[in-house]
Symmetry: C2
């Protein structure tokens, strides 16, 4: 079973990496770019026989390790077919 | 107009960051975790009045800057309502 976790910086939190990408894109000629924010995707493969693979457990992983909930928000997606 | 670009390491490409997260999760007691791959999300805000905001242009940004197409694959999504 595969799960996907999307972690993005919260609104209002400074994102220097995004600013750098935004600047680089305008330098390359993409003048239409007004803003870029950079986040992470985590693809987590789990074995249902070795433990719980519910969304609740996934949220627990996020709170404990995958996201810094002070400055980042996260969204989890379970993909039981994978 | 907002676009989202998902960049993930290609299959078979070593992902030390993912391995580190996987190890940390098992240490925290999540024994069901079999594998983790870490990628990036880029949220790109574009101004349609200043240039093209089509998927083609977005793919061009990916090829030129946002993804390293030798080791990473990418997927673009346009969200015209944002």
């Amino acid at each position: 079973m595969k799960a996907r976790v999307y972690v993005t910086p919260k609104d209002g939190i400074l994102d220097p990496q995004g600013k750098a990408v935004e600047h680089a894109l305008t330098v390359l000629g993409f003048k239409q770019v007004k803003g870029v924010r950079v986040g992470r995707i985590l693809e987590v493969v789990m074995d249902p026989e070795k433990g719980d693979t519910s969304k609740k457990t996934l949220n627990e992983m996020c709170e404990k390790l995958l996201a810094n909930t002070i400055i980042e928000s996260y969204r989890c997606e379970l993909d039981p077919e994978d």
